[in-house]
């Protein structure tokens, strides 16, 4: 579904992604972990070209990522993204946030898009907030609305860029629960996160990044029980201590 080959990325002189190879099969849930500054988020953002690619190739469902223009917009419609800071459209109600993409990009009729949006909102448990504006919602509710907005496009793959990092601790679980249920239903997901509990519960594979490289990749059981590299052991000991 997603295929990354020899991906490099530079920010000026800073070499942030170094020769990344990553293949994600349809229905697979890949969790990307690693210390901050390791390039996880940049990798995630390269997959729908919110960041340009320095060198190498990214393919989504067998199609190379177009450089720009309408072709890129079309491809992005198939790749959902959930951001750390939610990024719901502040001037629109929750319902209008969700129907914008389907009506403008997919040309779905307004009534159908609304029905679909309500179903999704029920699914993420905030149907009663449909007519509220984002600022009237808690962080957890906003992030669930953002997940509904991404799902409304019926994406082939969903990218999560640290979806719970901006949330108060008591709201983390309501978002993770939605993500776990998506994973269980067979959605292809790439999740950048620090939630090791989620990785254990829902991931098919854990990818460990450090200093712009993929250092280690394996099943959650193997990775957490017996990390093969010193750097992964060091990282896990730091975050699992308390």
């Amino acid at each position: 579904m997603v295929s990354v080959r020899g991906l490099h990325k530079w920010f000026g002189p800073l070499h942030v992604l170094k020769d990344i190879d990553l293949t994600v099969a349809a229905g697979e849930v890949v969790v990307v972990v690693g210390p901050s500054g390791s390039g996880k988020s940049t990798l995630c953002r390269c997959l729908n070209r919110l960041e340009t690619v320095g060198q190498g190739s990214v393919e989504i469902d067998g199609e190379p990522l177009p450089a720009e223009g309408r072709a890129l917009a079309r491809l992005r419609a198939d790749v959902g993204m959930v951001f750390q800071s939610f990024n719901l459209f502040g001037h629109k109600t929750v319902l209008d946030n969700i129907t914008l993409g389907p009506t403008r990009v997919r040309r779905t009729s307004r009534t159908e898009a609304r029905q679909q949006a309500m179903t999704l909102l029920e699914r993420v448990g905030i149907a009663d907030k449909a007519d509220h504006h984002p600022a009237q919602l808690s962080g957890g509710q906003q992030q669930r609305a953002a997940i509904a907005r991404a799902l409304a496009m019926r994406p082939k793959v969903l990218l999560f860029d640290e979806p719970t990092s901006a949330l108060d601790p008591e709201m983390v679980n309501e978002v993770l629960d939605v993500m776990v249920s998506l994973a269980a239903e067979g959605m292809t997901m790439i999740v950048v996160t620090h939630e090791m509990g989620f990785a254990r519960r829902a991931a098919d594979r854990v990818v460990f990044m450090d200093d712009g490289r993929i250092i280690e990749s394996g099943t959650p059981d193997d990775f957490f029980a017996a990390p093969r590299t010193e750097r992964a052991r060091d990282f896990l000991s730091k975050i699992l201590q308390h």
Partner: protein, 214 residues
């Protein structure tokens, strides 16, 4: 006072022309302002350069000089419009540059995340501008846009210099007959003030009605 009441019809016509010129020019300047602001944030460097050049040229020349140039110089190379049209085009082009800068400031208040989220659901540059960026950016600068509209209203009086009989010119004509400058120009001044107050009220109303819940 007699000077005002006996010439009510001339002054009335002048006032109507001022209102017409203001409305037509405001609409034109807004459209132009949005277009130029869009150019200034476009992803293509050439388009950005065109937008910048437009703003720099139009903002850095006096409106009166532009009006005179347009009305008296263009006909010598065979281009001429009716006087009202000429004045409307020049004032719209001039105020459009100021509006473009106000609108660009508004666009800059909209977080990068909003544009990224818009692109992530597959909207094109134009669509994200129209449905996500501009609706929020314009709301942030309703007040400055209102101020520019008031300045635009005042600037329509410069059209008198190129022969448009708007309120100032009408008052001037009446004064030439009656020689009562205090009454005539105070009357005209009050009319301008009333129009400016209306624009101010509309601005305030729009700002309250369109406020984004934060």
């Amino acid at each position: 006072m007699d000077a005002l009441t006996t010439h009510l019809s001339e002054l009335g016509h002048g006032l109507v022309t001022t209102v017409e010129l203001t409305v037509v020019t405001t609409v034109g300047a807004m459209l132009l302002g949005i277009a130029v602001a869009t150019l200034r944030i476009a992803p293509v460097p050439l388009l950005r350069a065109i937008g910048t050049a437009y703003v720099e040229v139009l903002q850095n020349l006096p409106l009166l000089a532009l009006l005179v140039l347009f009305v008296f110089a263009l006909p010598t190379i065979g281009i001429s419009f009716p006087l009202f049209t000429s004045a409307a085009i020049v004032i719209a082009a001039y105020e459009g540059a100021y509006l473009a800068e106000a609108i660009r400031a508004g666009i800059n208040t909209v977080g990068v995340g909003q544009a990224e989220a818009a692109r992530a659901i597959g909207l094109t540059f134009g669509q994200s501008l129209r449905h996500v960026i501009l609706p929020q950016g314009l709301r942030a600068v309703i007040q400055p846009i209102g101020n520019i509209c008031i300045a635009l209203l005042m600037n329509t009086s410069l059209a008198a210099a190129v022969g448009v009989v708007e309120l100032t010119q009408a008052a001037n004509n009446v004064n030439l007959l009656e020689a009562q400058p205090i009454a005539v120009f105070t009357g005209a001044g009050l009319a301008y003030m009333l129009l400016a107050l209306i624009i101010g009220q509309v601005t305030g109303l729009l700002e309250r009605r369109l406020a984004i819940v934060r």
